[in-house]
Symmetry: D2
Subunit: 357 residues, 4 copies
């Protein structure tokens, strides 16, 4: 009898989702007698019973495509820590649909929220395998998530383009890079783009120290400064506030970005012309880079291996450069922030890059 | 005796400036017994006497470089329409330095402001040739300015990347594209990127009509909408205000962008999730595309021709696909807005693209 | 009653075919009560009756895609100048299928061969409109064909990458660029990429003069040379041969490229290390650049206009920057080689670029 | 007293050389009282005494540049295994110049040949640190060399572009990818580009099995096939020959590429239209990708660390994702071919990719 594999993508989309889906499918068709059921729009489709039996041809030509052919949605739970009645109903519906589809395994592609739900379903007795995707690279237990390096390429390209205009105009450019909780994307793109200042959620900044970098560069006749700032970067004062208060303060204006906040405050300390750049969602769109295509393909193929071997409750991972896996219960929801003592942070400091601290 | 050519770049930087500089220089060295004086940071360098005799080797390897090796600055005049004392002094200084450099011709690369000053200097008796550059394509008398097509490529790439994430998430994406006075960049990138709505300074929009596009697409199961909006786009109400009042209203918050304004207002008419993307100055940075390299090279070479022929008070232009020139007095400061009846606007309308009107 | 439009793509594929197809379709659906019939693999599908009624959704998401969703094939006729029996049968079949499909118009996207057949069918009484596509830009009567500027971008990117490695290694790099009969692609990419030598089919070269450029550059301490050569470039000796003899000579080895021929002969005149680069078909693949998306969209929309107005036997064109049309009979099969006196050739010469003559 | 650091780049150029040079320099200036001596054109400059004291400003703006600001040349030794008189003289000259420059350390950036010489100089008593660069990724002891991922990106982009034209025309495309001894580049790009067949030096192919892939795909109505072939790929027959005889056979025609050989032989087994693409040196040119910029920067900074700590006779490496080092004597000249049992090869096989074996 055929092995029936359900597959869904959940959370923010990122480059490589289709490549990973293709990897699972091609390896499953090739090495198993597989049938693949595509579940629409993440866990929402699992809850609502929105799915279809896929044709093998539907996995052709998607390797290079951005986005996800299955659609995605954010986590189905309002608050995962509380056993709310609503949650119980949703979990029940997911289990019912898993049975209705006669699945032998559910493969979920997503980030920390997706993995938490995957782990929950695993504990409820379903066969589940997670694939770690996110442009933020903030999933514990894997060297890299897929999607990350593509986002680094895009953000680096933005900094490259800003560099020439900054230099021609003697300007301070504040480039806002995605990453609310983890600064990996800003750290990598900042180094790759040759940023002078890198501001991360994990290393609170002192605005006066940032202003001082501008001054010191001016003294060396470097009349422009590139500041790469993560969405979740915060000043020492903000870091000292309770999360709730800080976010309330920020949310007063829904469309007001961190780069604009920093630019406004920086302007109080310098006469230099300041401009902000907010590439936003373009960092998660478009065709995956070669690195991410290879990584997501390998992740997908490895998921098919695990299914063949009957090994579940796992999340595929890159560990020290080799493809392996973690137990879902060990990594689900465990964050991976940038360690201020990370080798890469130190390398940047040795290159005279300022973290504003 | 050598022909001495001064060259400066003025106004916002854009891709192709270095290619054009190289074109002037290589053709001048090749076809004239030329000496080239590089003037720093636009007219400011002409006023302050900040210049240097260039070596031929300084024009090597710059074809592909973004920005400008000469630096640039905004117009030296606070208000060009008034004969202020300050302006008179500046013009005097420019003429003195032109004589001090023993120039046979001054080549100025820039946009409308640059051309106004070029024309003023020409009327004061200097030999001046203008080269029309700007990512906005808003200079009268030339099919295209150089820098424009590179900016279109960049803005189109942004829309491409946004497309995949918009489709995966069922979102409305508002992408803010450069262009305060002219909507060419938004019009071209909007069509090239397959935007559903294009909002231009020249065609005031009705926010309710924009909201209706979102609804109508939803009815066709197209649950995402791409809106390309020019920086200078305005609603019917805003268009009815006096410019001064409108700008005062906008300037209340220096870092508040048009895309954010539109998103906020649109949110009042739709339940769809809306996100803004503000690529900003990245649209004027980086290496010029092939089209702009060829165009700016041709413009530069043609400037050298005109110098050889002793023809001045001209601006080089692309006219019906051929390189030619305009009289400075005919085009200086004459804007080139998008005609709402332009063939391209009509083509877009025929494709069911909405201009929100 | 609905207007029934057949559409086919013929000849070598090129970027922008899908964008043009989409343009025709969206404008036809929007401005006419249209039904669109997709004909498979060019005229072959018209001969064999291989076609399908398209759904409107099939034209969604194809704007950015390379290749052609309809497939393509080379000309169906072995020899168009002779009224062979085989040809008569094929023309008859095409007319029969045109009637069987109940077409009101046939839109053909292609190059010179495609237009010749389009003209033939038009003379046979069918309603035909041609859209000029080719990366070679060698169709008479239009400023540019779509596909051309994308190919220029790709070839320029190749030259850019070669530049850095040539300079680091002191090498002569011979880059073979597509174009058997017309040198436009090599001319534009050569100028955009800063090539030192440009060899075109239209300007026969003297290998010794090419070698001399290498020597002269070496004397100026420029120890590398970039040579952009069109596939159809030929030496003075080859140009003097009868076409038949020349091609026989070349065809002795099917996989032996012009760049390799030139490198071998150049090596007899210089001690410099020579390398060849043959990007080949990558020049006609991938997503169209913004310029080509806009142009092909406009061409497509204009075809729908012409159909609406009942104007046939035409080929859409860009004329002096405006969208218009030519009579098929005026342009079918009329080549557009590079004029050795073209403004762009002269500009290149003024920049000290050698054409080997 | 200042620490004097000599730096040279040797062997084939590759993206990231300038980024690594900048990394060494910026970290050395920042963390040591350093003076940096740039040695021209690899070991040749060390032998000839061709060097200069660098200014700090010379390391600005080079992060994104392809090639190498120091120039490069191939190995200075004709045959490293033999203690020829000529070699002894060269080594002597290198030692003399090392002393003349009063170097505290020599940093060499290069591949296997470069490391062999570095090791030799180290054994002769010089303080030497190697940085492993090559687009081939064939240096033992490091997860990745810098330059590799950029080359993968470029080769993948070539395959992407070929894909659309192959599909539109029903063709077999043979894409020749760099790599004479090691197939890593072809393996990664082949997987990232979705190649159907991947031919590597490490896995000899049977041309009939390759032809069979084409046939089988045709049966599934997949009328095109993408073959990624490494420069050093060989058939079973060729693999059975002595290296000398094989290379003699190949070298009969200097400009005859492996892709052309394979195409010719494949044509004997299939009626499908076959085309070759030879991107060649464009794979080692241009700006490094973000990954390589970060990696080469880290490598450079780590070299400065080692110098500060007085640790020499080492080569910097990426080991399990962390920056570390190997002893020169352990890795100099040790190749790193693709293991036919490598996880990535197996993943590809599970995806139904053929290696022609």
């Amino acid at each position: 009898m055929a092995t029936r594999i359900g597959i869904l993508t959940s959370g923010g989309d990122c480059p490589g989702l289709n490549a990973a889906i293709r990897g699972v499918a091609r390896a499953a068709y090739q090495t198993l007698d597989a049938e693949i059921i595509g579940i629409r729009a993440g866990y929402r489709g699992l809850i609502d019973g929105d799915y279809q039996l896929m044709q093998q041809s539907q996995f052709s030509g998607i390797l290079t495509m951005g986005g996800t052919i299955l659609g995605t949605s954010r986590t189905p739970f309002r608050n995962m820590r509380v056993v709310e009645e609503d949650n119980v109903d949703k979990v029940h519906a997911m289990k019912m649909n898993y049975r209705a589809m006669k699945l032998d395994c559910l493969v979920t592609l997503g980030g920390n929220g997706t993995h938490k739900t995957a782990n929950l379903l695993s504990r409820e007795g379903l066969n589940v395998i997670g694939l770690p995707k996110t442009i933020d690279n903030d999933i514990f237990g894997t060297d890299f998530t897929f999607g990350f390096h593509t986002a680094v390429d895009i953000a680096t390209d933005v900094i490259d383009r800003i560099h020439t205009t900054a230099a021609s105009h003697n300007r301070v450019m504040v480039i806002e890079i995605m990453g609310n909780k983890a600064g990996w994307l800003t750290l990598y793109a900042g180094i790759a783009g040759g940023a002078d200042v890198i501001l991360l959620p994990e290393i609170p900044y002192d605005i006066e120290k940032v202003a001082r970098v501008i001054e010191e560069r001016a003294k060396l006749n470097k009349n422009f400064t590139i500041i790469a700032v993560a969405e979740g970067a915060m000043s020492l004062e903000e870091a000292a506030m309770r999360k709730k208060d800080r976010e309330a303060m920020w949310k007063e204006d829904e469309f007001y970005h961190v780069s604009q906040r920093i630019a406004a405050r920086l302007q109080q300390h310098t006469a230099a012309e300041i401009r902000t750049v907010i590439p936003g969602h373009m960092q998660r769109g478009g065709s995956p880079c070669a690195y991410d295509r290879v990584l997501s393909t390998q992740f997908g193929v490895h998921a098919a291996h695990l299914i063949k071997e009957g090994r579940f409750s796992l999340s595929v991972a890159l560990k020290g450069g080799a493809i392996g896996e973690n137990k879902l219960e060990d990594i689900a929801g465990v964050p991976k922030p940038v360690d201020p003592e990370d080798q890469l942070v130190k390398s940047a400091r040795d290159m005279n890059v300022s973290f504003g601290d």
